[in-house]
Symmetry: C2
């Protein structure tokens, strides 16, 4: 049990960083705010990508790729968008370096100044809608259902690995439609895809809803989101899906001839999730023994550790371990066999526990003799001796159990961390002493929301979809309200 | 047969651009030198990625991700590298924009100047070796076998879609080893992986060899490469694998404690292929009817076009077409059914022929009645009527035939386009009138190579692996030479 490692109780923030670093997920790089995603962390992201990519394709989308650079002037074309995105960003001003005349390395060649600066994309609506203009003439060219896997850069001042970094990896869907209804339907469909992914792959329950105007994507008519709750009671936005109306079509002059022969602006959506989800995954399930991964996203679902003393025993045990590995792999289970001589079994047990491998199999000479194995579950830390026979079924069942158990635990946590507040005092008390989601009345104004944020750092995470109308009074102003919204402090 | 479309004979360069654009593979973007990779082009790249990624993992590599930005000073650390890479590149100098005080959109905020400029990576050796320094202490930390899928930027002056663009997508492998032997072995292993991929997936025969010093990667001790021949007789470098010696380990101070207890610099390799391969694929196989794709990399291996007049016929035919689609999909074949009402069969035939779909199935009411189908092969343009029964086997066999036929055609073309030249006149004659690979003697000096390049634009593409020693005289200087090397004009 890693003793030089913080518990959640002691220091939640350090606990998170310790897991990220010691489990080999990521580290800070030499470039301010940018991280190196290490192989184990990247393998989790690859699992996420594979699952999401399949869901996107199953809903009719294709991948494409647009330039990383966006001409500065593009940002000015959509009024709200420029305010939201064109500020803290990486600006390319030159295209050449030269040897320093004083012999001190290399310097920027001032003769190679760009006529117009290029922005490293913080998001791609502008360059994509500039492109779509040439793709759309008639209703027959619609819908366009495109997704892009890419890196983006936002010059964040305070960064945190996976949760907020200057460069991050993400996917951004950008679709174009003939009607408002179709675009709204697409926006909601992709929100459902994200919720499905969060719950069924990440084992994280999420609330679905829309953002208040303050929290809306810059350029969107409506922003839908999914919100998850972390173990410290803070919310984490795990995905957004935007109905963009005709804003970008108007800004970039994208029109189509309708079936009726009229010329109309195209309707748009965009939606994205990022490597931030890896941060959410870590914080949702991990414990004071390290990372805990849901089997559906674990790079290795099972690790086998052979135990032996003599060379004879080693041969016997490792051979059996290989046989079991093959058997499990045949059943579609990902299995690592760690037969390295350079590390002891105890070290390996700690290592894979810390790295959150869902199931550990230990096998020694006695096991080979008896046809048994020792299984250890990462989520409950329980061990049991089982029969080798029927190992595939045993492991498959255990992996399913773990996946479900993690979801159930996270759901129970969220349920007991969701409160109603009817007064300002209650609201403050919950925020300061409990954390979690707070259902409270709000007068519906941006001004009130802003003041609540300034006083408490809590924001409206979302207005739940299909919210139940309820008469009440705003917790801050006392003005009438017709529904509760969800507040929380958030990542 | 697309009449407003150039043939290879008329204008090879325009023919290439026409295919890229009209087949929906890519287009130029609003950003100088950067392309938009459209869904159909990106789908080919995804197929390439999937195949290569599996090959990398099967040879023990993991993926990871390093920052897109590299501090300027990093480039100065490896002397040869800075000359090769730190010149034409995108330089980030500022991290903020602000509203123009004159109200004309947004401008760079001069207060937000970076202390040290950041370069958008043209390749990642420097940032990766700066990172590896902290990963390696002992021989037990080696080897490091990492690959990265990423975008890179090189400020090319003359660009051409896929073949040479300012931004392109690629993979770059970066490995670290305890011994020279192991690093050389890795370099050669990855060259073999690339050759295997080119021949067995892309259906393009390649020569394997090493580069002359002039053409070597900046910072490498030895550059291995595979070279393919395009239909216009120009060579295309399709992949490189570099043995970097201890150059980067020395530049970034990466040492390890060996098993014997000594402190040694680490040995390195790097290797990469890029979206350029899509360009190679187009140019290797396509014809005057448009794109031709090898089945293993075709986004759709089969397209089904239903043919009908009445609504009754439509129901009957489309239903049967769906059944066949399901049957083929079950057998692992990717099949598109184009049952759109908005386009006529003739238009669809042209469309999929132009897009290079390997096999087209046409099905009409008579076919449903007779249990027959019409198959058309894209590579030979041959049509035949076949029995619906056993369709999976028929199509599988045809796809294999096409894959083999494309490779055989490309190999025959290369063989008849490979010449020996023993005099300068012969050399010039072949270059100007035939093109292709020229096996010729060279005196081994960089100076002669450079002069030949200046006079003819031909370069040494490679020195073949396991080259047969042969006494001769340099075609340019007449000085003695012990082997022939491969010259060509190249992309």
């Amino acid at each position: 049990m890693a003793k030089d490692f913080s518990t959640r109780e002691e220091n939640y923030s350090k606990w998170y960083n310790d897991i990220v670093q010691r489990a080999g997920l990521a580290e800070n790089s030499a470039v301010r705010g940018c991280m190196v995603i290490k192989p184990y962390g990247y393998a989790i992201w690859e699992k996420m990508q594979a699952a999401l990519d399949k869901m996107f394709k199953d809903t009719g989308h294709s991948n494409a790729y647009f330039p990383i650079f966006i001409p500065k002037s593009f940002f000015s074309k959509e009024a709200a968008h420029v305010e939201g995105f064109a500020k803290e960003c990486a600006v390319v001003t030159h295209y050449r370096l030269k040897n320093d005349p004083d012999g001190k390395g290399i310097v920027v060649d001032e003769d190679a100044k760009l006529e117009e600066e290029l922005i490293v994309r913080p998001t791609s609506e502008t360059i994509i809608w500039d492109t779509y203009r040439n793709w759309v003439q008639s209703y027959r060219d619609l819908p366009i259902l495109i997704n892009q896997w890419a890196n983006v850069v936002r010059w964040e001042m305070r960064t945190r690995m996976f949760l907020r970094t200057a460069e991050f990896l993400w996917q951004e869907g950008h679709t174009a439609h003939a009607t408002r209804e179709e675009a709204v339907e697409e926006t909601e469909r992709m929100l459902d895809v994200y919720a499905d992914f969060a719950e069924n792959f990440m084992a994280i329950p999420v609330l679905k809803g829309t953002k208040s105007a303050n929290e809306r994507f810059a350029g969107a008519v409506e922003t839908y989101c999914i919100e998850a709750l972390m173990q410290d009671g803070k919310a984490l936005q795990a995905g957004t899906s935007h109905f963009l109306g005709q804003n970008f079509a108007k800004a970039f002059d994208v029109k189509f001839a309708s079936q009726e022969g009229t010329l109309e602006h195209v309707w748009a959506t965009s939606w994205g999730v990022s490597t931030r989800l890896v941060g959410a995954l870590i914080m949702a399930h991990s414990d004071d023994h390290g990372l805990v991964l849901p089997p559906k996203l674990a790079p290795n679902q099972v690790v086998i550790v052979p135990i032996y003393k003599s060379a004879d025993q080693q041969n016997l045990v490792v051979e059996k371990a290989r046989e079991i590995q093959r058997q499990l792999q045949k059943a579609g289970i990902s299995v690592k066999l760690d037969d390295r001589d350079t590390y002891k079994p105890g070290w390996k047990f700690n290592e894979y526990e810390f790295k959150g491998v869902p199931v550990r199999i230990a096998i020694g000479p006695r096991d080979v003799e008896n046809g048994t194995l020792e299984l250890a579950r990462r989520d409950t830390l329980q061990k049991e001796i089982i029969q080798m026979k029927g190992i595939e079924q045993t492991i498959e069942k255990m992996l399913n159990d773990i996946q479900e158990n993690l979801y159930r635990k996270a759901l129970e946590f969220r349920e007991r961390s969701t409160y109603k507040a009817d007064t300002w005092d209650e609201f403050i008390d919950i925020l300061d002493n409990k954390g979690g989601f707070i259902l409270a009345h709000w007068d519906g104004t941006a001004e009130t929301e802003q003041k609540i944020k300034e006083e408490t750092k809590a924001t409206i995470r979302l207005i739940p979809l299909n919210n139940i109308p309820e008469e009440g009074k705003c917790i801050f102003t006392g003005k009438p309200s017709s529904q509760r919204v969800v507040f929380a402090r958030a990542y």
